[in-house]
Symmetry: C2
Subunit: 571 residues, 2 copies
């Protein structure tokens, strides 16, 4: 049980006690991780202010959003504020795939990072288990109803569900990048092997259960949401829910520990709550409402991260998480780096793991100026929601003063409340104290959240409003199938739900080849899917894979462990 | 985090301290569960005596082997001995399928049973994750090598593995009863979805990684064993290992916490180590060597359970676990109930969940006498290994004195060292104190383990010796494919390994319809498979499913949770 924990880490029980959490609400998982019982929550929102960290359009270089989130929480501590960071649990897919973990880095990381990046307290595994139980139950029911035919009810005492094998919408999940499972045939081989049908796996981060965990208020609410999940449609066209299949209770039982947020600390002992892990492209991209609520009751400032650029996780924060939970940020922080701004110029076709073009690595003001258009777009996009926007430039050693100064002037001219350099990686909280001061000042500005669309707007108009105001698109074009599903969802009474757009994060548009600030583009909508338990409608823009693949240079090749338990290659 | 924990449970830290475990080796997972670092192990075997609990041929009625194992450990405590029970972690498959959990019951159970029966500390999830990482890595490599063709090495700097898509032997796993995943087609849909091939899922209990966890000595040994796992064969016929795929390090990293045994307690505060969970039909059916070693260093008596009847888990204990680890039991306990003896007569075709025939429920000496032949066989089978055998009759309220007396005389006449009634369910340790005294006396007998076959015997002869001496079969008949694999394994140098027979537990033969003591039967061997990391050769006798299915009356339907977190329907 060796962790590469830095010696200055405090026992997690001390971190919890300092936050005022009663020891009966602290469930330790080893010395440096604990679950905090949601029974510790009091009614009401708490007095803390929420700071939402987003970014420019992400590039293969990485913008350092998690480093900045962790560093900013440390910086707020450094200037005398009580601060907590709220982040998502890393998925094993990226950890063993290409990107590495999500613990931050340098002097601004969550420790022990092995605990964060691997199983943590098993929440994602619990989601996979609950998700796949429903899938197994559904296919078993399909098999037994088909096998017993007219005698099914007589034999079992249960009414037939008449599951349409062509309309099972609940795929299976695994927390890996496993491309070979994207599309599969199951129930092959006849006999008792079940009914043959087309199926597929998604990565667990895409599970509706992950979204439910991130959006739920309490155990009873989670139980009800799980009951509402639509697994399939019947031959008669009725929705078949987890409640109908009598599996919702067992699914919730599997998730009963997962509902409690996980407490860890940063390299400077700043508390961090880690809870839920939806990606922001295929899901809603934000950590949990319960963790935010808990943190806001215990701290002055809560720094939380929304996945990918402001068109992705931030939009979904407002459209979905804020809409359901009513917790508004007081300020938006947009993270950028000089090199990712240059990369956003669109002049390079960069891929992860490849060496950087010289123009990106070295000072190049014209290139930077070009890429700054992307920053400008994200500032405007964030301001549209009615809140002050602070730009954080995550500094690299080679960054020139001239370039930093250019970005500062540019951002202020586009309406940023402030622009500060973050030295979180090199200096931790000391390196973000100016950013922290700026955030505190921004949070004093009063702002009222403006949503992109009202609940009452018909779905078709919600989609148009989202793509026009949220991305600057000309319009959305729905496939025939998407239009049919949309009409069907309206008829079934799901028209009031918000949207969760599944699109590429690598462009503001739905086409990853369109860099910087694309204009005149159309968002192609290929399919819609209701998540009745999570409370949103997934809108698929183009060919969105909900199961990543491993590349030719996967991270797992370099990960190993010695006989003393020391891990190498994990980052 | 509500557990239905009885109020007399002690904090797990106290249980650990009473065992003399230093607090730095105790990693708490909540108040009542802890992992014990294997760093707490000292060299050598310890002074404790190991008691191996097995049973007659299992019936759908359940024999109460876990209740007896837990109860006996409590009974040993009750008569003043320091005792620890070592059991396997329950699989979610049976918990949500038909059988329920594996915590024991009544006054002899592991508490809180929700913790035991659900995720515990995530070991099984870790195994699933490590297993499926290798599968994803293999299919990704197959895809990239096919996609890049001759340019693969140039592009990636790696040598081709030339994986034969028709000879991938590493299936995927999930810890559920999911019949629809038994046989599947993966990589469907073309494009970047991978290479289409036939595949399947097994339940995690069948994973070679589960066997490795149960058989390993330490972290370095586990790392090496994982490296030796054969995932596939190349087009040239070479074995492709996890080491070859460069994924063994990452797999071990995922299992680095799983290697530490889990400590809980019984309803009478007797310590219980729970570690690994291989089934005894499709795997080797015993909890871990590490847990046994740890317990033997901390207690006078260690009671451990081997899965199913003595032909299954007990045989595998000797042939595999004892052979690898060198830890011998001092005594065998065979569990039986009057009704399961009657059921073993073979006069009834009973199924789980159906009501019992009157003859089985009520006193019926002729029927009992008939079924006792099965007990006689298992006594002889256990004695063959050279150790004293104690028969434990797990008492039910309706049991008559006359029938109990009959079984006692019968068992003694067949060479049992002793026969005692166990009232573990009703009375806990008090109800097993006579059984405990008998076990203590039996452990004073000196015995030397006799193995069924020596390492050096050729595989073909090992199989014949196992089925003749281990089951009383006429012989084994190998399919053409099995014979070819056997020859191939001998050529590849695996002939020295012991066997792990995958067969039905419901008969001593390989045909579940042959009840009681079958004679003159043949064991059909359909396939062989080497587990080079676990260190045994799987022999499939007939049509053995390594992925169970859900019935029409699955347990999950009755499992639910209330808003306070109280679980119902779990047992």
């Amino acid at each position: 049980m060796t962790d590469n924990a830095s010696p200055m880490l405090r026992p997690i029980s001390q971190i919890a006690a300092a936050l005022g959490i009663e020891s009966r609400h602290v469930m330790p998982y080893g010395e440096h991780v604990a679950k905090i019982d949601i029974a510790a929550l009091r009614p009401g929102a708490g007095n803390g202010r929420l700071v939402l960290v987003s970014s420019i359009t992400p590039t293969p270089l990485g913008e350092g959003k998690t480093v900045t989130t962790i560093g900013l929480s440390q910086g707020l501590n450094h200037i005398g504020q009580r601060a907590i960071a709220c982040i998502r649990q890393p998925s094993l897919g990226p950890v063993f795939g290409v990107k590495g973990g999500a613990a931050g880095g340098g002097a601004a990381q969550v420790l022990p990072m092995e605990r964060l990046n691997l199983h943590l307290t098993g929440d994602i595994h619990a989601i996979s288990a609950a998700h796949n139980l429903a899938a197994a139950a559904l296919d078993a029911r399909l098999f037994h109803e088909q096998r017993l035919g007219d005698k099914f009810s007589e034999h079992t005492g249960m009414a037939r569900l008449d599951i349409d094998p062509g309309r099972v919408v609940w795929k299976r999940v695994v927390d890996h990048n496993d491309r070979a499972l994207r599309e599969i045939e199951i129930g092959v081989g006849g006999g008792s092997n079940g009914v043959t049908r087309h199926d597929g796996f998604e990565i667990t981060a895409a599970s509706e259960l992950m979204a439910i965990l991130a959006l739920t208020n309490d155990l009873a609410d989670m139980r009800q949401r799980i009951g509402r999940i639509i697994l399939a449609y019947s031959l008669q066209g009725h929705a078949i829910t987890a409640e109908d299949l009598e599996v919702a209770g067992a699914m919730t039982v599997l998730m009963r520990d997962a509902i409690h947020p996980n407490l860890m600390q940063t390299s400077e002992n700043t508390p961090v709550l880690i809870h839920a892990g939806p990606f922001a492209n295929i899901a809603h991209g934000n950590s949990s409402v319960l963790a935010d609520r808990m943190a806001l009751q215990m701290a002055d400032y809560v720094v939380t991260e929304a996945g990918f650029g402001s068109d992705m996780g931030m939009e979904k924060f407002f459209s979905i998480k804020y809409r359901q939970a009513g917790i508004a940020p007081s300020c938006i922080v947009l993270v950028a780096t000089l090199r990712s701004l240059k990369a956003n110029s669109g002049k390079f076709n960069m891929k992860p793991g490849q060496s950087l073009p010289d123009e990106v690595r070295h000072a190049n003001l014209p290139l930077l100026a070009e890429g700054c258009a992307n920053l400008g777009w994200h500032i405007a996009n964030a301001r549209r929601y009615g809140l002050p926007v602070v730009v954080a430039i995550n500094r690299f050693p080679e960054d020139s003063a001239e370039e930093l100064s250019y970005v500062r002037e540019f951002a202020l001219s586009r309406g940023a409340f402030g622009v500060e350099v973050s030295d979180a990686f090199a200096c931790g909280g000391k390196g973000t104290s100016r950013l922290a001061e700026c955030v505190v000042a921004a949070c004093r500005e009063t702002g009222e959240v403006t949503l992109l669309y009202p609940d009452t707007l018909p779905l078709a108009e919600k989609i148009q409003q989202l793509v026009r105001q949220g991305y600057g698109a000309e319009c959305a074009e729905l496939s025939v199938q998407a239009q049919e599903t949309l009409d069907d969802l309206e008829r079934r009474g799901f028209g009031h739900l918000p949207l969760c757009m599944a699109k590429t994060p690598l462009s503001i548009s739905a086409d990853s080849a369109l860099k910087n600030v694309p204009h005149g583009f159309v968002i192609p909508v290929s399919a819609l899917e209701v998540c009745a338990g999570a409370g949103f409608i997934r809108v698929y823009a183009g060919n969105i894979v909900t199961m990543p693949g491993l590349s030719t240079q996967p991270a797992y090749r370099h990960i190993d462990i010695d006989s003393a338990g020391n891990i190498r290659g994990l980052s």
